[in-house]
Symmetry: C2
DNA sequence: GAGTGGTCTAGACCACTCG
DNA sequence: GAGTGGTCTAGACCACTCG
């Protein structure tokens, strides 16, 4: 792990512990550089990470201020659009219990559109997974997921009921490069009515998602359909310069 | 403008012009550093900008590849959640004509909740603006916007019918630090039915937004309500490491 | 004027991919 | 082994905010 990430971790901890109270100023780059025995540029990279996370705000000529991070303390701000580590990780600080019910788990050749999206040819088998995610037993999100089978050997029902992302990251050692997401409001379809237990006219919040690996290959195409009354997504956008 | 932004601009232009074709490799940092007569670190900062924009992908040991940017060529991917320069700027490359109809423009003291959000006290007058945005005359988005009046002197009907953001950036010289957004699906209210011309059971895609200035003060709280069949939002999330 | 963060350099070394 | 991008440094200078 690079030094700047380590330092970012230490500073983040100090902020959450109140060592640097909200509203106060972070020590200057020079002082932090001395403390951690690194160059000022390295400290700056660490602070940049915290800036993107919305924890601090730097102003040239003034200093770096600890922000109150009340946004993401809000109950409705638990789910962030600007990361994609799976539902389990979003909920790790939640008391509620996440479970998964596998509704469909098949493998098939993709049609042209799906093959294009996953950048495979039509002879590569693709997993199709439909999972209902429940929170404390209440229906929450219905996920339609497609993954190229050659990238995910050994996928099985047990994994689907736990966490796919844990499997990809820890067991297969895959590394994500990023994701593309598209958010819309939709009318419910028959799946939604049946599994999300929503009424015929309840709106659905859909997140369509393509996730990429470091090597450039798409690992997942999915549509995540959420009950409108149980879930919203949040997003922080920070200009860094 | 810093050198790395200038260089990013030149490289971006070359990519869109096809000087560096999709799928090919960008020249190495060393070569680009020589060409632009800067250090390799400066070239890296420029390439980082393009990475976040999804134009290139760097792999250690390999090189930097030009990606096809087909995502944001998609018609439905015009609106990005990861910037906040206003609707006018999202549509600048669109043939359709954006117009604005001012439905409400008043000023009043804020209630406690709004005062908290905008970080003003309840004695500071706050503008309340309701605007219907139309595309080629078709109702599109209904925006409920609140702004502290002391930050936006001289706001008037004429500006509201053109572009608020142009006024803030160019006339008032304000600088944005970032924004916080929260996305939900909602049932339509009476405003939506009346102005967006949507049916009683059509879903609404709502973007709730707080925009901050560089000095840390919130400049805007707004709710943007979109017809579900005319608009979705896109988002690119790239790990930079 | 003093002190802050922002930019930039030249050079060193490391981690990684590829043939 | 050759070549790539990633990290890090010490130091210089600039732009900005504040009192």
């Amino acid at each position: 792990m690079p030094k700047y990430e380590e330092i970012a971790g230490v500073l983040r901890q100090r902020i959450t512990d109140g060592v640097y109270p909200v509203g106060s100023m972070l020590p200057t780059r020079t002082i932090l550089a001395e403390e951690f025995q690194v160059s000022r540029v390295t400290v700056k990279k660490a602070i940049e990470i915290l800036t993107v996370e919305g924890l601090v705000l730097s102003r040239q000529g003034d200093g770096t201020k600890i922000l109150n991070s009340s946004f993401f303390d809000r109950e409705d701000a638990k789910f962030r659009l600007d990361n994609f580590n799976g539902l389990s990780s979003d909920l790790h600080s939640d008391d509620r219990k996440l479970s998964s019910q596998v509704i469909e788990f098949t493998v098939d050749f993709p049609d042209q559109e799906l093959a294009d999206r996953l950048q495979v040819d039509q002879t590569t088998p693709v997993y199709k997974i439909v999972r209902l995610r429940l929170l404390d037993g209440e229906p929450y999100t219905l996920e339609h997921t497609y993954m190229p089978s050659d990238l995910v050997p050994g996928l099985n029902q047990e994994i689907l009921e736990a966490s796919i992302y844990d499997f990809l990251l820890k067991k297969l050692g895959l590394k994500f490069a990023g994701s593309y997401r598209h958010i819309t409001a939709e009318r419910p379809d028959s799946y939604d009515v049946e599994y999300l237990d929503c009424k015929k006219n309840d709106p659905i919040l859909q997140i369509e998602q393509l996730v990429y690996l470091k090597n450039g290959r798409p690992i997942e195409y999915s549509r995540s359909r959420n009950r409108y009354d149980t879930r919203g997504y949040s997003l922080l956008d920070v200009k860094t310069n």
